[in-house]
């Protein structure tokens, strides 16, 4: 067998790929300039290109909420949006919610109330809870459960997660 048809490099063997796009995005207060393929999600940008692995990939289909981040202040599923669409945006991840060494009150409350077991959903739960508090729409315990239903905890730590969110919400109202 002749090996004349064997490409010399993987690059030459690869099919044509669309050009990368330039993305300027602020993550936890730091501006980044990235060159990304158009199909890279915000989640993959964070984890694979910026090594910010606090944001978790659970289902990758917007069903579990593990990838929740705050995009321009609002909680979203980072797996279901393209990084190239957010040129000029600002993202806050779990790595950016603390104030230096001082944990965000919701982070501290998760520890105080033992609101996690394996911890895989926790960063998404915390970002979602912060989003819920900012939105200011939860008035009753049922509202909290409904508005946190986009974050699944397969260890079943819901009882304590609920307590955390309820307490954080009350504290934010008192302030």
């Amino acid at each position: 067998m002749s090996n004349k048809q064997q490409p010399e490099t993987i690059e030459k063997a690869a099919p044509w790929l669309p050009p990368k796009q330039s993305v300027r995005i602020t993550i936890n207060g730091t501006q980044h300039q990235l060159e990304l393929e158009p199909w890279i999600s915000v989640l993959d940008m964070l984890r694979e290109h910026l090594q910010l692995t606090g944001t978790k990939k659970g289902c990758d289909h917007g069903q579990c909420g593990a990838c929740t981040v705050l995009l321009d202040g609002k909680r979203i599923n980072s797996c279901l949006t393209l990084a190239v669409m957010h040129d000029g945006s600002s993202v806050t991840t779990i790595e950016g919610v603390a104030n230096g060494e001082e944990l965000h009150p919701v982070q501290q409350a998760f520890i105080d109330h033992d609101a996690f077991q394996c911890g895989y959903c926790t960063s998404g739960q915390i970002c979602s809870a912060i989003g819920l508090i900012n939105e200011g729409k939860a008035k009753t315990p049922d509202d909290i459960r409904d508005l946190m239903s986009g974050n699944i905890c397969r260890c079943g730590a819901y009882t304590n997660i609920f307590k955390v969110v309820q307490e954080a919400l009350e504290r934010s109202k008192a302030q």
Partner: protein
């Protein structure tokens, strides 16, 4: 996900131009449904046109006394908009009955209308599906069809439309404004979505090169007597088995006008004006509501797992009309 090219449109004309004549091009806004389907290769556009920078993000009054929702307003911003909450609470409640806070923060009003079905077989490329692959057959008709249609279905497709928002828009009689290469047109909501017939691959009557620019709500919002009843397998974050959007105009306990739309039962939000008309001039009683419910489900057909939906839909209609009668704002 398969590779694709990406471009960001600066205005509506540019967006339309980008997709005109290119069957492989798709708009993206919230992306919550499109990207999900692209990840499992059910949809595989070769060219993506980002429309999120278009100036379609405002909610404004219309000269006719209604409200115009820009296509890019998010579902969350719509549901919590002060004008929607006070004048169209039915719409607000319906939106908040669907999805999660994270999805509603991203999903847009135009995109909500264009959601694809959640039929399990549409999602499963290992099975036949006429909507995904025309001519391949329908696995749902003889398969697990608990969530499937009981009205308006065809031998080619028994999928349902998954939206809650659209059920309220159907009841309210909204108009969908679109722009294409030949200009603008308004599509009455009842004509926007299609029944499957023998072309289930077409969900709507929107042309491939048309873009939704806004959704217009008429002046009458049924804000005094409305209800959105959603019956589902869990209390939050589940699609409707059956849902009912109801709006009533009442005078001394007599129905002047009734609007009813059903979700979870057909390929489109289900309206039957001649059945609604049975209530006009009649007292708002449980007995009359049941008569309307019977008329609404006339001709309904079950496929085994979903046969329970026929009686469930009737009871949901009665309950929605009772709640609408009682909730005097």
């Amino acid at each position: 996900m398969r590779s694709f090219t990406y471009t960001r449109a600066g205005d509506v004309a540019e967006a339309v131009n980008e997709v005109a004549g290119n069957e492989e091009a798709r708009f993206i806004a919230g992306g919550t449904n499109l990207l999900d389907l692209m990840k499992i290769d059910v949809m595989h556009p070769r060219h993506i046109v980002d429309i999120t920078r278009l100036a379609l993000s405002t909610v404004e009054d219309t000269p006719e006394g209604g409200l115009r929702l820009g296509a890019l307003v998010t579902n969350a911003d719509t549901a919590y908009h002060e004008q929607v909450e006070t004048r169209y609470p039915l719409l607000s409640h319906a939106i908040l009955a669907g999805a999660t806070a994270q999805l509603r923060n991203k999903a847009t009003d135009g995109g909500n209308l264009l959601q694809r079905t959640r039929c399990y077989y549409f999602y499963d490329k290992a099975t036949p599906c006429n909507k995904r692959e025309p001519g391949s057959g329908c696995a749902a008709i003889t398969g697990f069809n608990r969530i499937h249609a009981i009205l308006g279905e065809s031998e080619h497709c028994i999928a349902t439309h998954p939206s809650d928002m659209c059920v309220a828009l159907a009841a309210l009689g909204a108009v969908v404004h679109v722009t294409g290469p030949n200009g603008e047109r308004g599509i009455p909501f009842a004509e926007f979505h299609r029944l499957p017939g023998d072309t289930p691959e077409q969900d709507t009557n929107l042309n491939q090169d048309e873009i939704i620019t806004s959704i217009e709500l008429p002046a009458q919002g049924f804000a005094d007597h409305y209800a959105y009843v959603k019956v589902r397998d869990r209390a939050s974050y589940a699609f409707a088995l059956v849902s009912v959007a109801a709006g009533l105009l009442l005078e001394d306990g007599v129905v002047k006008e009734a609007r009813i739309a059903l979700g979870g039962v057909a390929h489109k939000p289900w309206r039957k004006p001649e059945a609604e008309a049975l209530l006009h001039g009649q007292p708002a009683t449980a007995e009359n509501f049941r008569k309307v419910a019977e008329a609404y489900l006339e001709g309904a057909k079950g496929y085994g797992h979903n046969t329970f939906k026929i009686e469930l839909a009737k009871r949901a209609i009665v309950r929605a009309l009772q709640q609408a009668t009682e909730n005097k704002a």
